[in-house]
Structures are given as C-alpha cells and as structure tokens.
C-alpha cells in the first residue's frame, strides 16, 4: 500500500466539505440554514486556500467573507425573516430547468478541468515549505513586485479603495430609514421607521 499523501487527504477533506455544504446551500429551503451551510462551505474553501499555499488569502477569506460579509447577510436575513419568507418554495419546473442548465455547465467545466495533463498532478511535497505571502502581497498591492520585477497593483488597489468608500456611502444611503410622506393607515407597522 502506498504512503498516504496527507496533503491530498486534507484537500479531499476540505473539498468534500466545500462541495457538500455548497450543495446543502442549494437544497435547503430555510434561508437561515442556507446561511449557516454557506459559512461552513466558505470556511472549507479557506482550508483549500491554506492547502494551496495562500495563507493570507485564506485568513482574509475567513475574516472578510465569514466574519464580515456573512454576518451582514445573516443580519439581513434576520431583518427580513418573517415566517412566510423563511422557506420560499420553488416550482418543480424551475428546479428541473436549473438542474439541466447547471448540469450542462458542470459537464463543460469538469471537461475543461481535466483536459490538460499538466494540471492533473502537482508537486505538493513542497507544500510544507510555504513562504510568507503577506509581505509580498502587501508590497504587490502598493505597486512593487519584487518577485517578478514588474509593477504591481497600486491603481486597482486605489480604485478598490474608492469603490469601497462609494459602496459604503451608497449602501448607507440605500438602507437609510425613509420618512414617508403619509403613513399608510391600513398598516400600522409601517410607522415604525
């Protein structure tokens, strides 16, 4: 019996987690459970990132996606979680059509994934000797790529910064409590803004 490749073992573990929980996201109709499974799926994905040597991006994934975005999403879920919206049923026709289209896409993607021989196996024995990526990523974002001698991503970085600011303002503007001109008489709950 061959030696078990531990990298592969952990990869399979994380991949299994990521895929299973992604599927559970699809097949759960309860929106809160969907969010929970999505968290697990994203955390497993972070594990995949760690295994691929991208520790900074993995930590980032956990911090921003799981700690930030998902909390935000769940927050939204709770704000809108009235009984009738928690589990919205979808018609069977939509399901079958979606399955058909998704299956076709999956087939195409998997065919592509395994079409190149060079991609089928890597040299994961090096996986243990990862080096710090955080410093190099930081430098890359600030415009210096010492590993390749090319210029980095300063402009995108700045654009993203501005973008985030705009998003922040925009989101605050969109979600602000609106003062309605005339509170509708038939729905007293409307006045609570």
């Amino acid at each position: 019996m061959d030696q078990i490749n531990w990298h592969t073992f952990f990869f399979l573990l994380s991949a299994l987690g990521a895929c299973t929980f992604a599927l559970m996201v699809v097949f759960t109709s309860n929106i809160v459970r969907m969010a929970f499974f999505l968290v697990l799926s994203l955390t497993s994905t972070a594990g995949l990132f760690f295994l691929a040597g991208a520790d900074f991006v993995g930590a980032m994934q956990i911090m921003i996606y799981v700690g930030g975005t998902m909390v935000l999403l769940v927050f939204g879920v709770m704000l809108t979680a009235q009984e009738r919206f928690v589990s919205l049923k979808t018609s069977g026709g939509t399901w079958s059509l979606a399955a058909l289209a998704g299956g076709a896409l999956l087939a195409v993607l998997l065919q592509t994934a395994f079409s190149v021989d060079d991609w089928k196996a890597g040299d994961t024995a090096q996986a243990g000797q990862s080096q710090t990526t955080a410093t190099r990523i930081g430098l890359g974002l600030l415009g210096a790529r010492f590993d390749e001698g090319t210029s980095g991503y300063l402009l995108p970085f700045e654009i993203v910064s501005i973008h985030l600011l705009v998003v922040l303002i925009g989101a605050a503007y969109l979600a602000r409590a609106k003062r309605r001109a005339k509170p509708s008489a038939d729905n007293p709950a409307d006045r609570s803004d």
């Binding site: 061959d2 399979l12 969907m34 809108t80 991609w119 196996a121």
Partner: protein, 115 residues
C-alpha cells in the same frame, strides 16, 4: 483505478471543486426566490472562481511551477473577496430597500419593469 488518497492533487482537482461550487451558486441563483438566497448563490459563484485563481496561483499545483500565475492569482483573489464584500453590502441595502417598499423579499415580486 488509482487510489485518490495516494496521488498528489493538481490544479484540475481544485478546478473541479471550483466548478462544483460555481454550478451550485448558479443553481442557487436560479432556484431561490428569496433575494438573500440569490445573494448567497452569488457568493458561491465568486468563491468557485476564487478557487481557480488560487489554484493557478499556487506554486506547486502544476507540474511546471513556472506556468503558475504566482502572486497574481492571490492578488486577484483578494480583489474578488474585497469586491464581493462591497457587492454584498450594496445588494443587502437593495434587498432591504426592496423589503421596505414591497413588504416582501421574494425576487419574483420585483417585476414592475417587466415587458
């Protein structure tokens, strides 16, 4: 059939996982009626794409490590994550606004502009 556990993994395996997540996201977007469910589908799609970026950026997932994207893969993944967060914030704001105006979170009810 070779034992999967004893073989080193490669970009292909990552791409397969990415493909599954991507398709899950697509199906999620197509089948969920809850606006936030659609949003979760989008997150899945973005993550599926991110897995590919990371895989191609990894130094040891391909036979020829010179073919890897290097740090670019991680940097782009980083941008995707950040933009996804921004997108989520805006989408959430839109969803809440929608909920405020329609008293519903069902995206199929948002059809005032249909032809």
């Amino acid at each position: 059939m070779t034992n999967l556990l004893t073989q080193p993994v490669g970009v292909s395996h990552y791409m397969a996982v990415g493909a599954v997540m991507f398709v899950c996201g697509i199906v999620c977007m197509a089948t969920k009626r809850n606006a936030l469910g659609v949003l979760m589908g989008i997150e899945l799609v973005l993550n599926g794409a991110n897995i590919n970026f990371i895989a191609f950026g990894s130094a040891y997932l391909q036979k020829d490590s010179a073919m890897s994207l290097g740090l670019d893969g991680q940097l782009i993944a980083l941008f995707v994550i950040v933009l996804a967060a921004a997108e989520a914030a805006v989408a959430l704001a839109i969803a809440l606004n929608f909920y405020n105006n329609h008293h519903s979170i069902d995206v199929d009810r948002a059809d005032e502009l249909k032809g």
